[in-house]
């Protein structure tokens, strides 16, 4: 890692990560198992892409994520990939949403992905993208339930590649 002072100067909240264990005791975990990335089996221009995000973005007609729960919400929402930003809303307490409300693409680049598909830079998009909230205090439930549920839902869409983005 580069000079920490240099990094801090670029952060909205200097020291955020170095103090996370103090602020949320036991939150920093170390994973020792290694899951290799899967290799792309066809050119990107022929690949169908899905998108998984922790941004808490969801369709306006879906049940809002439970942002008040102290241990968090371990559900996800499918987000139709042909949605317009006006069809979507954000339910997430823990990151600044001011910019995303002006342009949802800064946190959930749905229109950019639609453009890439239209321009055939990527082969296409799955019918649905997937979203959940990233403030999770139960890592085991996150890994063994939510991640598995999302993986199952992604598999049904038969993507060739997945874009994973934290918020």
């Amino acid at each position: 890692m580069a000079n920490s002072k240099e990094n801090d100067s670029r952060q909205l909240r200097p020291g955020l990560w170095t103090t996370v264990n103090e602020r949320y005791p036991g939150a920093m975990i170390t994973k020792t198992d290694f899951v290799p990335l899967a290799e792309l089996k066809k050119p990107l221009s022929e690949s169908r892409l899905t998108f998984v995000s922790t941004a808490g973005v969801q369709s306006k007609n879906s049940v809002p994520f439970d942002t008040v729960h102290p241990i968090s919400d371990y559900t996800f929402r499918p987000v139709p990939s042909d949605s317009k930003p006006l069809d979507l809303e954000i339910h997430q307490l823990k990151y600044p949403t001011v910019g995303a409300k002006r342009d949802l693409n800064v946190i959930f680049p749905i229109e950019r992905l639609q453009e890439l598909a239209k321009e055939k830079i990527i082969g296409g998009l799955t019918k649905n993208f997937f979203s959940f909230i990233g403030y999770n205090m139960d890592v085991e439930r996150l890994e063994q339930t939510l991640a598995e549920d999302i993986a199952d839902a992604v598999e049904v869409e038969m993507p060739d590649a997945a874009l994973l983005a934290p918020a």
Binding site: Y24, G26, P64, Y95, T97, E140, R141
Partner: protein
């Protein structure tokens, strides 16, 4: 993992650790802010009651009698954020 930490605190009766986490949750990782947020919610609730407005007490009593403790605890967290939002002073980066 944090949940284990909280479960251990609950099992050993370590109230300091538990209330600290509540404050951290309400204060977005800042314990002092969380303390102020708890105060803010109670002050807002109290202010509403000062005129002794008519309330649906039957609903309250029925809810307390009929709903399980987990649902009521969940409601308690909802009510905190409800009154914080109603106060007009929102410190959180995002939205409910």
């Amino acid at each position: 993992m944090l949940l284990n930490y909280l479960n251990e605190a609950a099992a050993s009766g370590d109230a300091k650790k538990l209330i600290r986490y509540v404050r951290l949750h309400f204060g977005d990782g800042n314990e002092e802010n969380g303390r102020k947020e708890i105060d803010k919610a109670w002050i807002e609730a109290l202010k509403i009651m000062l005129d002794v407005p008519e309330t649906k007490r039957e609903f309250i009593l029925e809810t307390l009698a009929e709903k399980d403790a987990a649902t009521l605890a969940h409601l308690f967290f909802h009510l905190h954020f409800y009154f914080v939002r109603r106060s007009g002073e929102w410190i959180h980066d995002g939205e409910l």
